[in-house]
Symmetry: C2
Subunit: 300 residues, 2 copies
């Protein structure tokens, strides 16, 4: 979870701090308050506080809905509690939306007005900027692009539903595919091991292991299918990839780009389209919380 205090005066630099594992231990709200107090500026008025958290959550009400691992936070009024305690306007959104907002404001997407940010990691999340505005939706649940249905008969996603992009192209999906193929008797330097990670598969691929290469090719191909549909839906000028799995480079992105080009139904979508990596790293969520607060109080 992340918190950013925003000081109104002259767009001064923002005080911000990342709070790890907030959701997985009890007493999180008190820890969050004390972290905000730690970064509270001495001499200036605070205009707004921005908070980021894993979803699902409601950015309109500031409630956490049902974050995994901690029942303490189910249906919890996080932003209202902080707002009441500090008497300062407080805004909340999910990590992927905020990372997208941050890349648009401060990172790889600077200068673009239509941004599609996709994080490929243990899950697949997204943040979408349309005409310089963060897409949130009626319930605040828009841009859940990892849960786009890519193949109705596809494998189950972590959410329990079938055939989502996340079930094809996330880190765990890559591992699951390899384990299935190993079980079916396909040869590989990789061994059947439940602790296998997408990084292990990437290392095997870099050593030339055919199964490992095929696993990333498959993930990239489905990612291209998904992103083709996202271009048709949002028509962005830039697609930015973040998340651990995206760091493998060409292993994933060569088959991704080939698949995307094969699937986009009109060449105009690709005219001037930038496809690139996120450049804010771990700071993206925190900078996004800042950008959210600035956006909501109308400074940007």
């Amino acid at each position: 979870m992340r918190a950013a205090c925003y000081t109104h005066e002259k767009l001064k630099p923002i005080k911000q701090k990342k709070i790890p594992t907030l959701a997985s231990k009890p007493g999180g709200l008190e820890r969050l308050k004390s972290v905000i107090e730690d970064v509270w500026p001495q001499t200036e008025a605070v205009a707004a506080i921005g908070l980021g958290s894993p979803g699902p959550l409601d950015p309109h009400s500031g409630y956490l809905l049902a974050p995994p691992n901690n029942p303490e936070w189910h249906n919890f009024p996080l932003a209202p509690s902080i707002e009441k305690h500090f008497s300062v306007k407080t805004y909340l959104d999910n990590d992927a939306n905020l990372a997208g907002l941050a890349e648009y404001r401060f990172g790889a997407g600077k200068g673009h007005h239509h941004v599609l940010y996709i994080t490929v990691s243990t899950g697949i999340g997204a943040g979408v900027i349309i005409d310089d505005r963060l897409l949130q939706g009626y319930h605040g649940l828009a841009a859940e692009l990892g849960h786009s249905i890519i193949d109705p008969d596809g494998p189950p996603c972590s959410c329990g539903f079938n055939g989502h992009l996340e079930a094809f192209s996330s880190g765990p999906a890559i591992v699951k595919y390899v384990l299935g193929e190993l079980e079916a008797g396909i040869g590989s330097v990789l061994k059947r091991d439940s602790s296998m990670t997408a990084r292990d598969v990437a290392e095997a691929a870099q050593q030339g292991d055919a199964l490992a290469i095929k696993a990333y090719q498959r993930a990239g191909e489905y990612l291209g299918i998904g992103v083709a549909s996202f271009l048709h839906a949002f028509d962005p000028s830039i697609v930015i990839f973040g998340g651990g799995v995206s760091q493998v480079g060409g292993l994933l992105f060569d088959p991704f780009e080939a698949s995307l080009r094969k699937r986009v139904f009109h060449p105009r979508y690709l005219e001037g389209l930038v496809i690139t990596r996120a450049n804010l790293g771990d700071d993206a969520g925190l900078l996004g919380a800042r950008a959210l607060a600035e956006m909501k109080i109308g400074l940007k």
Copy 2:
């Protein structure tokens, strides 16, 4: 093609007119000009002209790109030509975007801020309103939701690419499915006939024909899969269906709703969600051209 002249003063009623078959006969630009002259108000200044046309087109530049049936209009500066001739700001967008905009402003979507409009007809088009703004995208090609990839190995779409929503749930897709099943020897009151329409299939279904019912069930099921992904992407508060095929009612929409509910990955998307039919009929495109002009000159 549609044209609307908008008079600035006191939000007066707009002069508007539909021009049939503009694109399929030569001399269309001159006919369009003369129609606009016909509706030109006698005593008031015209603030803007709104134009609607089948796509693909570029709403930012006002160029038609490659409308079917008439090479005269390929890469043609339609809005700039009208704007120059009348010395009045002129705006252009495609029929589906404008119908969505019209339903949001004047029709079934009035009062909603996040609207998903889908027309199911010979093709499948869409118009999306996000936070009270029409989604157009960087190249003006956003919201082409009929070309969402629903199944990568699915049947070819009218655009030539495989597995698009339009290839499963449009009128021609329903007919094609029936013809394929008849060819495979499935019994039906319907006969193999290349002039078969989706309406013929609907009539057979209403008489209890099992194949015809199955054809609409299949179209509705895939429509539900597509719309589930669109809810995850846009999170609207209302889904509005227009287009001829949508007039069959429960035959399509009962299986659609069952499929949608089965596929939406979080129940919150459905909370308060309205699913309804368009109510502006054939006027939607024309009212959309008016709404576009009003939106662009900042009156709405």
